[in-house]
């Protein structure tokens, strides 16, 4: 834990906050892209430490939150198939589909299992050749290497009873979409450190240049976040718009090339719908032609999916940063983590859940 506690030092945090306060002269809106960062900001109360000029906008980087309803409904239908063992990361189980969630399918007798790695699902498929094992492969670039390896391994071993329901999403096209969206207020980005540990930083300079927006690759611990914010504010005040790497202990310019190689072999870019936001061109990955046999969408034909979103849910605006979670009329009333209307209220990384769990019911109040 030493390597973590040193990034939670209270004195150093105070010094970073003081420097941000000295540098800032006018209001700036900074979007942290990743849900893990949102979670850490709220959990550590970092936004409360910042000067009033610095506003943090919570981005769409929670993979659970942006997985489209149509995909969730498809997952629910596949999971209910008696031949299937449906494997998923834990926080997908509570995400509401049009009518129910994976917990409800499990309760009715569906074989739904929480796994910690897609390789566990492959192992299960190897040990149970009589069962159809489906892995729900969601996530940003961070989870893609392990998911890609799982399919590659299944193909190498000739496992015919393993498939993946893929809904991968990518950060750079999302940044592009946010900057192009009408009403955008974002002045700078804290890019997602873990995503960049896989993909490197090379994808970001064209975005920074095109939109004249500073992008600082940032980690997840309190000092990482404060340093990322400090560097962002410095750039904004000085009128610069560079890509800076504030997470160099993990992220290199080229990223993890071995991981990128396997990703490029297994996945191919794809237009992807984001829940609450809409379709963003080239913003996702699906299985490449060589791995199409492992696509659960093709193996299990699900017809008649008609999605219905709650009309009260404003998660799209929350994900785009135009609405704070507690500004949503349904927040904490019709919509709670117990009865979530949208996915942003479900995952620990979802902005609405992060606000709810931290008791942020009243706008601008620290502890209600």
């Amino acid at each position: 834990m030493k390597h973590l506690t040193e990034y939670r030092d209270a004195d150093k945090a105070r010094r970073l906050v003081a420097e941000i306060g000295r540098v800032v002269t006018r209001p700036w809106a900074i979007m942290e892209v990743c849900g893990g960062q949102t979670h850490s900001i709220i959990r550590n109360g970092i936004d409360q430490l910042l000067p009033p000029e610095v506003e943090l906008i919570h981005g769409p980087g929670c993979p659970v939150c942006v997985t489209p309803l149509e995909v969730i409904d498809r997952a629910l239908a596949i999971a209910a198939d008696p031949r299937v063992v449906f494997c998923s990361f834990g926080d997908m189980l509570r995400v509401p589909g049009s009518r129910e969630n994976l917990f409800a399918v499990k309760g009715r007798g569906g074989d739904v299992r929480v796994v910690y790695s897609p390789l566990d699902a492959v192992k299960f498929a190897r040990q149970h050749p009589d069962r159809e094992v489906v892995f729900f492969a969601i996530g940003f670039e961070t989870t893609a290497p392990a998911n890609a390896m799982a399919v590659k391994l299944a193909k190498q071993e000739g496992l015919r009873n393993f498939s993946m329901l893929v809904s991968h999403v990518l950060v750079p096209p999302a940044i592009h979409a946010i900057m192009r969206s009408p009403g955008n207020r974002v002045n700078a980005f804290l890019a997602a450190g873990h995503v960049c540990s896989v993909m490197g930083t090379w994808q970001y300079p064209p975005l920074a240049e095109q939109f004249r927006v500073p992008i600082v690759i940032t980690g997840f611990e309190p000092l990482d976040l404060l340093d990322g914010i400090r560097r962002t504010v410095l750039q904004l005040e000085q009128g610069r718009h560079l890509v800076e790497n504030a997470y160099a202990r993990v992220v290199s310019e080229q990223g993890n090339e071995a991981a990128q190689t396997v990703i490029n072999e297994v996945f191919t870019p794809h237009d992807r719908a984001w829940r609450g936001i809409g379709t963003i061109p080239g913003s996702g990955w699906s299985l490449s032609d060589a791995y199409r046999d492992f696509d659960a969408e093709e193996r299990f034909v699900v017809t008649g999916i008609t999605t219905t979103e709650s009309p009260l849910c404003k998660s799209g605006e929350v994900l785009k940063g135009t609405l704070k979670p507690n500004q949503c009329p349904a927040f904490g009333k019709e919509c709670t983590p117990r009865r979530p209307l949208g996915a942003t209220m479900v995952s620990g990384e979802g902005a609405c859940a992060a606000y709810y769990h931290a008791g942020r019911f009243l706008e601008g109040s620290g502890t209600a």
Binding site: M1, D9, I42, N44, G90, P222, P337
Partner: protein
Amino acid sequence: MTNRRFIPDLSNFACPAPLRDYPHVILGHGGGGALTHELIEGVFLPAFSNPLLDRLGDSTVLDLAGELAGGGRLAISTDSYVVRPLFFPGGSIGDLAVNGTVNDLAMGGAMPLCLTAGFIIEEGFPIAELAAVVDAMAMAAGAAGVRIVTGDTKVVERGHGDGVYINTAGIGVVPPGVAIGAAPIRAGDVVLVSGMIGDHGMAIMSVREGLAFESQIESDTAPLHGLVAAMLETCPEIRMLRDPTRGGVATSLNEIAGVAACGIEVDEAAVPVHAHVASACEILGLDPLLVANEGKLLAIVPAEAAGRVLAAMKAHEHGRQSVVLGRVVAEHPRMVVMRTAVGGTRVVPMPIGEQLPRIC
């Protein structure tokens, strides 16, 4: 890491009664006839034997005149135990079934006297494993100084249970003069915790999910009535005791804040967590405050008594790592607020259901 590793060595198990005919529990063992008697005489009685149980009456009559003399009051509690795997690092379902009910009694200030034990066994469950569970229970009962005085056995069809479920009910006596909760919790009171949190839940999770960490995490299952007695001796006016089992410390603190209609403030830097438990939680995206404990207690004590209660806790074997966790405050009633290490604040909510490991 496999579950088998925690099952005691049963290779030399020799059954004193002619149970060898059936190495596994069959439906007939729950039928009340000769097979049931074989099970009782071969497995339960040798482990639990005491004069009250050995009579094998439909009920056991207790004479508590001595214990209740001078104004002692009876306390009663019941709990059911369902855990997978049955044996885990640091304990077993048998330990939980004794210590859990003992601790429920202890949180009311009672000295536990005796337990009942009901077993719901799944057809096909190995008798050797049942005997190992029963032995663990007998050892835990011996260590806690309680007797198992009556019991029941049922067998359910294969697939209708998870090996074995155990229910225990317990009776204890609250000694005269002990009145936990007589005076209400008020702002200024101090919150104490009796040691490192999150051990039990993470021990179970690491085995259940086959997660191998560098050092093994062990359950903290332990009987706490001795610790409670030592605390009450130094401070009979303890405001409240809770054992933070399911739902962890966060749930118990929220319950206390709700009952007291006060706020509770916790200092993040003061939360005691073993480094390897903290690391495991970090990897899985879990909060140690929400993880179950089976041998810890939270105490709300008047500020002026906090020092001496803490000293008494630290002097007891089950409270050596006790610390001040936080304070009761007048602000934010019914809410638990944490001062984070970097100087922010956040509300510690009541968890909704099980914690779900995060995706990345």
